[in-house]
């Protein structure tokens, strides 16, 4: 099935979200769709699924114009969406989730679960998805849950699959397997739209690439002839540098020293297994690892969010093993949290309030027991200008900003103080290319001002590009350490260590 968009336009008030978009989606082909946050990708996809109706232009399926009236019409016509955030019921089985809403029924209108299971199994075999139909969703890893989402749209006999940022939640191995599935689907004649902002992935998997910027198609091309730099320029509208320019590190005194730190969960399982590491002033230390190997707990131990079971943490000469979050913050520790929505900001608070979320109590912002809002607002405005946080006003709720600007807001708050140590966890997750570049520059700037910088990231490129030294975590342990001066660490060796091979060079 082929789908064509012709001059598709959608306006929201004065904002043109999609401006005469032309796009061709062909059977047996993977179309990579690139665009920054807010470029209009979601609007376009929502028009394809029938959620929005276009103001101008038309959608043609196999050459015939169609008109979608409501959210069910897209899938009815064979266009299926796999959303970034899964829509599954955790306490139900795979088969139950797949048939939910279109259940096969028996003679008396009751759910025929046997038939459902058989149908699910058939699709499972055909596309080699390897999904266990009787497992509960909550028992399955994220990568498998995603395949259940794919199974869902296949079950509804979709011929066009739109995958919205599918790799954002996957580990490198899972990404590899996922690409295998995309390939199978393609060979079976399905049309795939792969939405992402990861440039190397789109080059790897797509047959054609379209780039969307400010609602318009700004570039199209063949992945065989395009480079990442070309794509980034189409996305952002200016040349983007991928390698953050930096001088060699000048490591000074030890800023952070963890020795033999262990952390246990409620069932006494080891979350951190005798972790020892150091971060010196003037260097960037990266912690690489597949997500869920203790990095979150490592950051919690350093920043004081969780108590450690044993071991010692020393921050610039002071033992902070039992110090509170606020004490560490006062001593000059900055913390960019891994999930800004979960813990880094309060969506309903204004940009100004978010800018002082963890320093509102300081004498600088105080008038007795009250907060000096005048000062808070002025400081927030200065930070916004300084860190290029794009918002019309500091009184706008933080939740109304785009992802990249929210992250810049968090980064501004953390770095614009007197700091000695910056702990940055997934500092550029869900952030557009332009903002990534900027955040990286600021982290290097902190290093050059003499801070120790610890970056925890599941993006290996980010770790390789920024770090002067690299630790690799696996199963709660530091399993390897690499010197990365001048980018000399071996990417393959780091990747192997991430997968659990116990061979790393000693520093």
């Amino acid at each position: 099935m082929d789908v064509e968009l012709r001059g598709l336009t959608k306006r929201f008030g004065s904002v043109v979200a999609n401006d005469h978009v032309d796009l061709q989606i062909r059977a047996g082909e993977v179309l990579g769709l690139l665009g920054e946050n807010g470029a209009g990708k979601s609007t376009m996809m929502n028009m394809l699924s029938g959620l929005y109706s276009p103001d101008e232009g038309e959608i043609l399926i196999d050459g015939k114009p169609v008109k979608f009236e409501g959210p069910g019409d897209g899938i009815e016509a064979g266009i299926g969406m796999v959303h970034q955030h899964f829509m599954l019921v955790p306490v139900m089985t795979v088969a139950e989730n797949v048939v939910l809403g279109v259940e096969p029924t028996g003679r008396f209108g009751h759910l025929d679960i046997k038939k459902a299971r058989a149908q699910v199994e058939e699709i499972n075999q055909k596309y080699r998805l390897h999904v266990p139909p009787d497992e509960l969703i909550e028992e399955l890893p994220v990568g498998i849950q995603q395949r259940v989402e794919i199974l869902k749209v296949l079950f509804r006999s979709a011929d066009v699959l739109i995958l919205d940022e599918p790799t954002a939640v996957l580990t490198p191995q899972e990404v590899h397997e996922f690409f295998g599935i995309v390939d199978t689907l393609k060979k079976a004649g399905k049309a795939i739209v792969f939405i992402t902002h990861k440039l190397h992935e789109v080059l790897e998997i797509s047959d054609r690439i379209s780039v969307l910027r400010q609602g318009r198609i700004t570039g199209e091309g063949d992945p065989k002839t395009l480079t990442e730099a070309d794509l980034a320029e189409m996305m952002v509208g200016r040349p983007v540098s991928f390698t953050t320019a930096k001088e060699p590190a000048k490591p000074g005194r030890t800023m952070l020293e963890m020795s033999d730190v262990t952390m246990l969960d409620e069932a006494d399982e080891m979350l951190l297994d005798h972790v020892s590491l150091t971060v010196r002033s003037g260097e960037v230390v990266g912690v690489a690892g597949v997500q869920g190997n203790g990095q979150t707990e490592l950051v919690e131990a350093i920043t004081g969010l969780e108590r450690v079971a044993s071991g010692k943490i020393v921050f610039d000469g002071d033992d902070i093993t039992t110090a509170s979050v606020r004490e560490r913050h006062k001593m000059g520790m900055a913390h960019i949290p891994e999930d800004r929505h979960k813990s880094g900001m309060v969506d309903s608070f204004t940009v100004a309030e978010n800018m002082v979320l963890n320093s509102y109590y300081s004498p600088y912002y105080s008038k007795g027991w009250a907060i000096d809002w005048q000062k808070v607002n002025e400081t927030a405005a200065r930070y916004c200008v300084e860190f290029d946080v794009r918002t019309p006003s500091v009184f706008l709720p933080g939740g109304a900003l785009s992802g990249g600007n929210q992250q810049k807001m968090v980064v501004a708050r953390e770095l614009e103080r007197e700091t000695k140590l910056v702990v940055a966890s997934q500092p550029t997750r869900g952030v557009d290319v332009g903002s990534i570049e900027y955040i990286h520059e600021r982290l290097i700037a902190s290093r050059d001002e003499g801070d120790g910088v610890l970056i925890v990231s599941s993006e290996l490129d980010e770790i390789m590009g920024l770090s002067d030294r690299i630790y690799v975590m696996y199963d709660g342990k530091i399993v390897a350490e690499f010197d990365n001066t001048g980018g000399k660490a071996d990417r393959n060796a780091v990747g192997l260590a991430m997968a659990g091979a116990h061979e790393g060079e000693a520093a």
Partner: protein
Amino acid sequence: MTDKRPDLKDVNERMRGLLARTTHGRDDFEDLVIVPVFAVIVALIFGALIMLATAVDLPTIGRSFVALAVGSVGSLSAWSETLTASIPLVLAGLGLGLGFRAGLFNIGAEGQLLMGGLAAVVAGFSLDFLPMVLHLPLTLLVGALVGALYAAIAGFLKATTGAHEVISTIMLNLISFRLLDWFLRQPFIQREGRSDPISKDVPPSAELPRILDFIDVNLRLHAGIFVMLAAVALVYWMLFRSKIGFAFRASGENPDAANYAGMKAAFIIVLAMGTAGALAGLAGATQVQGVLGRASPGFSAGIGFDAIAVALLGRSHPVGILFAGILFGALEAGGRQMQVDAGVSIDLIGIIQALIIIFIAAPLLVRSIFPWGFRKRRKGGEA
């Protein structure tokens, strides 16, 4: 864009833009003003329909609405009754609203109010050697303090064991009812020569003076209204100006972010519950010191529960709670008049109050009943 430093003039220009106050959008206005107003109107209409359904004839329905209006705002005496009834509602409502802001769903205002009121009575008759300037404020303070301590029990249980405050405050309400009955039979508290549970009187030096008695001695409005207005200002300052209020709101909106920011959850829970209890206790104290003059079983008369509705209707905002409390006070005062003039049961007022809350909680329902006054919602929402 990032490589060149913007010059100072440009920076100043941009900062001025960022600091310009955003005007409140029309959506805010619709949510905060139009929806509540329509909710009240719809609730009154439904009230009329219910009267019709229970075989009340049309003229009587007409008379009862006239009585409702006259009895709540139709005269100086009506205003006095309305405001008198609103004082404890606003005070307790402020406490609950503050708790909601901090993410605590406190159902325990009724119990806190009873304990605070009882403590105020006891302080009233046992400290009667003090001059009024000390006696009156001290008695109010004792009421607030005991209310705070009683509420802090639920806060402490949540902070240390994770016991949910909805359950524990409901249980504490039940305990407070029986505790009050028991206290009222203690020889120290029970009035001499009475066998039924009733306390001694609050002496004049601890009474909140009536402020309109120079016009007419029957006007019951008392100085508690100043306590109420001061509390509105104080809670506003606390929530939106003070450091602790910032921590309250952050904890309520996003506990993980509050934790990340170094705010201590246990401390905030106990403090927010305590403050809410202090306001409920104060509500009880103003009621016994300004209106009742003594404590008797169930003297709270459900104010602590009505205050939940007041806090919700007021959107947990101090000024909203003030208006919502006055509205509920007006319904209370008008309802009494309605019963006298039209012979319609005051229970109808309870039904109307409940309907108002339902319509407030379902703004979409109100929007669909009243298409006028609302700007059309964009289909599909944001880009």
